[in-house]
Amino acid sequence: MKIYVSMAAAATMLLLGGCATEQPQPKKHASVVNVLDAACGNDDIVVKDIKGKRRKDGFMQVQVQGENTSGDYKRLEYRIIWYDKSGFQLDTILSNWTTVPAYAHQPFVINTVSPSTRARKFRIYIRNEKEMLCDKQEDEQ
């Protein structure tokens, strides 16, 4: 009996493993780097995509795409901490909390740029009414 249960469990794992799709790994030195490997958020707000790139003028650009699945308007806030190539935080007013509107049953986008051409990495926080929805850091490119 025990053997049958173990075999069934192993077969299920194999089948499930076969069905799972591999998460795309961010490519090193790619022009656009995907930061989010799985959606984050809560029942009302879903953050589907966070990506960053270096622009031609040397500044980094970050874009967040998400959706407000609820029937209410949400006043989201986000904050991005920027780091130089040595991992030191850049002191800037652009790291203050900033509001972004998320209208009922509609997608929302955060589009922002780094305060300096020295920025190499970033960490983004997104919250709604003080509830943290997302905390993601871009790894070294």
Binding site: K56, F59, Q61, L94, N96, N111, S116
Partner: protein
Amino acid sequence: MRQTRRRTVIALALAAVLMGGCAPKTENIDINNDKNADAVMGLDYRDFQAAAQEMVQSLIASGVLAKPGGGRYILAVSNVLNDTMQHIDTDQLVKKIRVALLRSGKVYVTTAVGADGPEDAMSMKTRKELRGNEEFKQSTVAGKGEMIAPDLSLSGKIIQRNVSIDRERQQVEYYFQMTLTDIKTGLAIWEDEKIIGKRGSNKSVAW
């Protein structure tokens, strides 16, 4: 008589203690975590910070700070008019923008040129006064033709509009408007506006 005087003194002391107890306590503001504190009808540091942040973000995102061939632009700060009913030093806004632009790595701000003369009068004065002055080693004095002329000029305006809602409430609108001009061509290469609106009691005075 003496007893009456003593009673009066005690009553006064008691009143002073009670009144002191009712007065609002003075406390320092934690400017890093003050967003949800009471809003005021006038402009406060939170509004200037939000306006400056949005302006800098917009300016960098526009891409106009990328100088062809590399290097930094030289920026002169022109007039930022205060068209509100409040006594505002517009440097509360402009300084934040200047600092952020300097740190961006794309701009230097000149203090030798301004709408009302050089911002740093000393830098201009010392050059003129020290040049040819035998007390100073002339090789250390700034020579003629060494100052760098600005490429860009930043100007702006803060406007206030009061709208009465009803007998008890009013709405105050503030418009932060900024323009970046290419001095060579005279063209405005970037412009933006941020609106901050407040609703509150008519008894609150926004000046």
